[in-house]
């Protein structure tokens, strides 16, 4: 028997298209009806064939429309991108099916069936998410237990931060240096005094009351600023020729890398005060920030070391032959190149740091995720865990995505390749 008539060819484009498209549409309709209309068209077929019938139908359909150089632009584009081989056709189908099956329910839950109006759990009557929960608790999620009349102080700090960051991008190049110096050295002091108070007639607010997203920002910002230089020096130390420097760096890095963050935090809160002399006291938040900083610095050190090792020996030779000593060689020649190489790794560590901050709940500090964890145990709002954590996931995702995009931008901007 001559089977070549079944092979899709340009000559019978019309009939191939009709057969292929109808098979494909039938497959799609099959999955569609079983998802939304509660009716399984191919239900009479034996179990496993029934289960895979949309896939089989779709794949057959795609097989028939896979005609190279058909002359039809749309068809060619579809074939090239979604349907270049049987395997790719099946992958495309699976993606389409997953989208049909899971996207509409997700949208329904988050938007169409969700409740936005009201002030209590009882106002949530629909099937979907109860965003009223987020609305009612929003203030706590942002500011923790920080007293409401004083919250402007946090807002002002973040406005200054935001303003300086924006001005870095807007102002001409020569002012950039000053703004960065301001952000690194002066701003932290201003922000810390403003938020904690105790001077200029501002009411003292102890760190135990800090919380919510603002605490996430405070912890991550301080840890980010400090872990970077410490990491760089540890990386240089690990490659040093001086045995004392080298082995203490190795010891430090391996110690902190080998311990889970949660135990480090626990020790910083519970065991560390026992070693302090009587009468001295160190704020819990401060201890936690130091612990996270040192922990992430160990990771940062290894990332930076990777960059240092990627540089060819010739760069060191050239810098030395021009009379540069150790520090000038590293700060002018080696580190600018090494750090540029490891921007993806640095971004990775920074993202991990931001996402590690929720762990400070073990010592009783509640940032965004911690506040949500607390709110969901409120007797009036039981059963709101999903809404709360979806919200937390969304906020963290926005922060991390912004950082990721920025790092990619930076990479592009610093590239001096052809």
């Amino acid at each position: 028997m001559n089977l070549s008539i079944l092979k899709p060819k340009k000559e019978n484009l019309q009939s191939c298209l009709v057969v292929g498209t109808s098979l494909f549409c039938f497959g799609i309709f099959d999955i569609f009806s079983s998802t939304f209309l509660n009716y399984n068209i191919t239900g009479y077929l034996p179990g496993i064939i029934n289960y895979f019938s949309p896939l089989i139908l779709g794949a057959l359909g795609l097989y028939f429309i896979r005609i190279e150089y058909s002359g039809n632009k749309t068809l060619d584009t579809i074939n090239k991108n979604l349907n270049s081989s049987n395997f790719n056709a099946v992958l495309s189908l699976i993606v389409i099916f997953v989208l049909i099956k899971y996207v509409p329910p997700t949208l329904n839950w988050t938007f169409f069936d969700a409740n936005f109006v009201g002030n209590t759990k009882e106002d949530c009557t629909g099937d979907g998410a109860c965003w009223v929960f987020i609305k009612v608790w929003f203030n706590r999620f942002m500011y923790g237990m920080y007293p409401n009349p004083e919250q402007w102080r946090i807002n002002v700090s973040f406005l200054i931060l935001l303003g300086s960051i924006v001005s870095i991008f807007i102002l001409p190049h020569k002012f950039k240096k000053f703004i960065i110096l301001f952000l690194l050295f002066i701003f932290p002091i201003i922000a810390l005094n403003l938020i904690s108070g105790g001077i200029f007639g501002l009411k003292w607010i102890e760190t135990g009351a800090w919380g919510g997203l603002s605490l996430t920002f405070i912890v991550s910002a301080f840890a980010l600023i400090f872990c970077f230089p410490i990491g760089v020096f540890l990386a240089l130390g690990r490659r040093s020729d001086l045995p004392a420097v080298k082995y203490s760096s190795i010891g430090f890095i391996e110690l902190w890398r080998g311990v889970p963050l949660i135990t480090v935090l626990f020790m910083s809160a519970v065991m560390f005060p026992m070693f302090l002399p009587d009468g001295t006291y160190m704020d819990k938040l401060m201890r936690v920030i130091i612990a996270i900083t040192l922990f992430e610095a160990a990771y940062m050190a290894e990332v930076v070391r990777g960059g240092l090792q990627a540089l060819p020996r010739g760069q060191y030779d050239a810098a030395q032959s021009l009379g540069m000593g150790y520090w000038r060689m590293h700060f002018l020649v080696i580190l600018p190149q090494a750090l540029k190489l490891v921007i993806p790794g640095i971004a990775n560590t920074f993202l991990a740091l931001v996402k590690d901050t929720p762990l400070i709940f073990v010592v009783g500090l509640l940032e965004l995720a911690g506040m949500i964890g607390l709110a969901k145990t409120n007797p009036k709002w039981l059963g709101m865990a999903a809404e709360g954590y979806v919200f937390a996931a969304f906020v963290f995702w926005v922060i991390c995505f912004a950082m990721s995009r920025y790092s990619q931008n930076l990479e592009k901007k610093l590239s001096t390749e052809r």
Binding site: A318, A319, L322, G323, M324, R328, P336, T416, R418
Partner: protein, 243 residues
């Protein structure tokens, strides 16, 4: 004339392997020396010892009346006086050609930025790539990169220039533009030690030739004598193969 470089009984080992054996060398001010020899003979190691990119284990190296030793302060002073050009150019890829040239004058010689950049432009003009000053090394051809590297070394206003196979990584047609710059430099009275296989260049420029094999200086002679009647058989063999 006085000796600006003196090497006395210099020995060097990489682990157990001896790369330099009893090297004796004297270089006078404004003298041009070309070192040749088969690969692995210790030529590069020898000139890298002169500015202590490699350290020697035995013997004395005296550069401009200062002995090269463990004392790092001295080494930085000497390195600032000894320019070096590498086979792989080793330009700093994150800086423009101009910044490559002005970096060390600004940070090591402490020149004001403006002055350092004028100096850099002067030297870039000297190697005829002043129009490439604002490009990055990656955007230049091999020959241009090597000329930029020479300009970078010249910006430190060195008393001595070391060249470590400066044309070996270049396409044949770019070799000439680099050699021209070097000939020009030689005529300007620079003290030069050049490791190269470009015998035409050697004949034109060198006062003395050195032939090295297996870590030893096999033959040192005036350039004309070296090419016209080499004494050792090893030199004869080498010359017969590359000429």
């Amino acid at each position: 004339m006085t000796n600006i470089i003196e090497l006395k009984k210099v020995n060097k080992w990489f682990d157990k392997f001896q790369v330099l054996k009893d090297i004796e060398l004297e270089v006078k001010t404004q003298e041009k020396i070309v070192i040749c020899g088969p690969s692995g003979s210790g030529k590069s190691t020898l000139i890298r010892c002169i500015n202590r990119l490699e350290n020697h284990q035995e013997g004395k190296i005296i550069v401009d009346n200062t002995e090269i030793s463990e004392d790092t302060k001295n080494i930085e002073i000497i390195r600032a006086e000894v320019g070096m050009v590498f086979q792989q150019f080793n330009l700093f890829p994150h800086l423009s050609v101009l910044d490559n040239c002005s970096l060390a004058p600004i940070w090591v010689k402490k020149l004001p930025k403006k002055k350092a950049e004028e100096l850099a432009m002067e030297n870039l003009k000297r190697v005829q790539i002043e129009d490439q000053a604002l490009k990055f090394p990656g955007q230049l051809s091999g020959g241009q990169q090597q000329r930029a590297a020479i300009a970078r070394a010249l910006c430190m206003e060195p008393k001595i220039m070391l060249f470590d196979e400066p044309t070996s990584a270049l396409d044949p047609e770019m070799i000439k533009e680099v050699l021209d710059v070097m000939v020009d430099l030689a005529k300007g009275g620079m003290t030069m030690i050049v490791v190269t296989h470009e015998m035409g260049f050697a004949k034109e420029v060198a006062d003395n030739m050195i032939f090295m094999d297996e870590g030893r200086i096999v033959e040192k002679a005036k350039t004309k004598d070296f090419f016209d009647n080499p004494k050792s058989d090893r030199t004869k063999l080498f010359l017969s193969q590359i000429l």
